[in-house]
Amino acid sequence: MELIEAIILAVLAASTPLLIAATGELVTERSGVLNLGVEGMMIVGAACGFAGAWFTGSVFIGALFGIVAGMLMSLVFALMALGLAVNQVATGLALTILGIGLSGLIGAGFVGERITPAVHLYIPGLTDIPLIGRVLFGEDGFVYFSIALIVGVWWFLYRTRAGLILRACGDNHVSAHALGYPVLRIRTFAVMFGGACAGLAGAYLPLAYTPFFIPGMTAGRGWIALALVVFASWRPGRLVVGAYLFGAVTILQLHAQGWGVGIPSQFMSALPYLATVIVLVLLSRARTGGSTAPAALGTVFVPDR
């Protein structure tokens, strides 16, 4: 029993940064922009988030630092890929390289420092329920926020006019422009939202996952978040399932090593990507028409005026 509870708690903790970062990227991609710089924005968010919490002693302010840092990184991307219409793939990769270097610079002084990590909810009685108590009522704020975030994004995309306009920009930017929607402005907001989420997801790592900062601590989670968006075929509901599934694989990999299961850990690390490839194949086979990806994804748009 205790072991199962521990595993579920670990899975939730491992999944949360994936869910937050992928939620942001989902909104970005739904607007038609492919930002491959998630890993870079996350790692800068991690460094700045830790720095913020270290200086102020507040996890909340640390998280805000992470959000702002991710947003600033995404603005660099927006300036290049939207403002100057540079190739989005190249810009996104450059952003990741920039982020890794920048986070090393920012975080250099903080290696080895510790902070007090995010507190977990405690409701007497409820949290003490065996097995589900701590899972449902004993998480840190990030976990609850990540769920509220994806529900909010679902509601925004499918129940609001602004969400419809954002999806329209991702489907056909020429039409959206012809109808008078400011495509580039909408995409800039979507990119900034993606950056804020990536920054927050990065900050989660030193603020809640481990209470210290080490360079490169995102360890490829940004790439998994990118794969996750494809895995979820750009739909919020599937994104939640995918995030917990991918989180579970990460935890499983650790336990498998502990139990001495003879599967190489490298194979387990590759599982999320393998799953994404399989989902892509299944999607393309099952498709009867229409496209699952936003049709304008990754294409450059320059309005004529």
């Binding site: 419809l164 329209a168 489907d171 056909n172 020429v174 008078g180 028409g289 496209s291 049709a295």
Partner: protein, 523 residues
């Protein structure tokens, strides 16, 4: 009856919409040069001109999509400056786009909602959508996604969307270009009704007969300038065309003494599954094309013409070699290059990106299709002189106008590039030429040159297959016309027998034989 076009009969009332000296400059290029037009209520006003004459620029300015560089727009006598399309819509200006401004992966209702200003709830909007589409006889299912719909249905969405704003002034940019004749007739009924409701319509079209039938006034643009405003009913199609082109258009003449010879291209029961998500399945296509003959394939775009072209050119291979026979040799399994070596040549619909590599020079583009069969490569090395000679010959023979000897493909105008591409293939003396939309988006002068070249090639003994949406073009050059619908090809009709009505029925999927039609209804 008062004719709204004759001047002085508007009893002091200002025009609904007026442009005064409207000018739009892109760098050194004047897309619109001081254009004045007046449009009154209860008027269908045609805007005529060749590609590049400035029609689209003008309507974009009126719809607020671009800002004019100089001049002004007056709305009900008052000067207005539009901040964007939503302001234009608020004032009562609606637009139906040529390349539909629809979102394939969204539903009909969502598409309509995006064209409105979002002041009513989605539910109210859906109800009103149903009501408007019923009132005007434009049936639509609001829940379906656009990619599932036919071209005609897509246009209905655009029109209903525009009508839901209750516009006083509606712009239609080449609305009939993709419609069957019957669908076009239905559209005209709607337009007449809108006119009777005191609305004004600005109607862009290339189809002069249609303009004569429908429009009260025509403004003709050429090279960004207004050349004339006239009553199209008092003009002939030829006189309108002269005003558009600014000179006589060379008449295309079928050379006498054309003889049909042996079958050079035979297609036997060709079926192919769709190659991509929105593709069409080809079903049991058979025809025989002899030397000296031109077969026209008509049909609304997206009914399998692209797939047929790909199957003939070898871009998609068939499992059964016997489905495509070129010069008596089963070629269904052969690659593009192998088919070219058999004497076939291909001109795809899309000039830039499919017919040519846009950023490569003309000589390099000539090499790309001619390397296997035209002696431009020796022992694996390119004979640059030979490639340049091909460019020169195509340039001279087909009057290709370009800034230098060997420019990039993308720098040529549409008409000149098309002349080059057709010329490049014809100069190889093909036994079989498969050409798709040879004069799409090409000015009238270049179109005449290309059509003449196709006729001359057939006279010289080649078999020519022309796919076109322009029925007048097919009537002019083809000996027989077949129609594609949903991936099937009808039996060819002799051109003399192929009336617009018959072709229109086939294009809409009806059968010409009453017995079969009864079957189809019963099924």
């Amino acid at each position: 009856m008062l004719d709204p076009t004759s001047n002085g009969l508007h009893s002091g009332e200002p025009p609904l919409l007026q442009t005064l000296g409207l000018t739009k400059r892109y760098g050194d290029f004047l897309a619109n040069d001081a254009i004045d037009i007046d449009v009154w209520p209860r008027q269908i006003h045609a805007l005529l001109g060749e590609n590049g004459a400035g029609k689209s620029t003008l309507v974009k300015a009126i719809y607020g999509l671009i800002q004019p560089s100089a001049g002004e727009i007056r709305w009900q006598g008052e000067r207005i400056v539009l901040s964007g399309p939503s302001e234009a819509r608020r004032r009562g200006i609606g637009m139906v786009f040529q390349h539909f401004s629809l979102f394939d992966n969204l539903t009909v209702a969502e598409n309509v909602a995006l064209g409105l200003d979002g002041t009513e709830s989605f539910k109210d909007m859906s109800a009103r959508l149903e009501q408007v589409s019923k009132t005007y006889g434009l049936p639509l299912d609001p829940r379906r996604e656009v990619w599932q719909l036919s071209v005609g249905e897509r246009q209905r969405i655009e029109i209903v969307r525009a009508l839901m704003q209750d516009p006083k002034f509606l712009i239609l940019d080449e609305p009939t270009a993709v419609l069957t004749p019957q669908e076009a007739d239905q559209l005209f009924i709607v337009l007449e009704r809108l006119k009777a409701e005191d609305r004004a319509i600005l109607y862009i079209s290339h189809k002069l007969e249609e303009v004569k039938r429908l429009c009260d006034t025509a403004t003709i643009l050429r090279g960004g300038r207004k050349v004339e405003t006239c009553n199209p009913r008092l003009e002939t199609a030829a006189s309108l065309a002269r005003m558009m082109v600014g000179g006589e258009i060379k008449e295309v003449k079928a050379p006498a003494g054309r003889k049909t010879t042996v079958p050079r291209l035979v297609v036997n029961d060709l079926s192919l599954p769709p190659g991509e998500a929105h593709g069409v399945r080809l079903e049991h296509i058979s025809f025989e094309l002899k030397g000296g003959e031109i077969l026209g394939i008509a049909g609304v775009a997206g009914n399998g013409q692209d797939e047929l072209f790909a199957a003939l050119s070898g871009e998609r291979l068939s499992k059964d070699p016997g489905t495509v026979v070129i010069e008596g040799i089963a070629a269904g399994h052969l690659s593009i290059t192998q088919r070219r070596k058999l004497g076939a040549a291909f001109v795809p619909e899309e000039r830039l990106g499919h017919g040519t590599a846009p950023r490569m020079k003309l000589s390099e583009n000539a090499l790309l299709t001619g390397h296997a069969a035209s002696g431009m490569v020796h022992h694996g090395f390119i004979d640059t002189a030979a490639t340049l000679k091909t460019v020169d010959r195509a340039t001279e023979t087909f009057d290709v106008r370009k800034a230098k000897r060997d420019p990039e493909a993308a720098s040529l105008s549409g008409g000149n590039l098309q002349k080059f591409i057709v010329g490049r293939e014809i100069l190889r003396n093909p036994a079989v030429l498969v050409v798709s939309q040879p004069t799409w988006g090409v000015d009238a002068g270049a179109a005449a040159v290309i059509r003449q070249a196709l006729l001359d090639l057939a006279t010289a003994g080649a078999a020519v297959l022309v796919t076109s949406q322009d029925l007048d073009e097919l009537a002019e050059i083809a000996d027989r016309i077949a129609v594609m619908f949903h991936g099937r090809l009808s039996a060819p009709l002799a051109t003399s027998d192929a009336t617009r009505e018959k072709l229109g029925l086939l294009m809409g999927g009806s059968s010409l034989e009453p017995r079969e039609a009864a079957h189809a209804v019963g099924a």
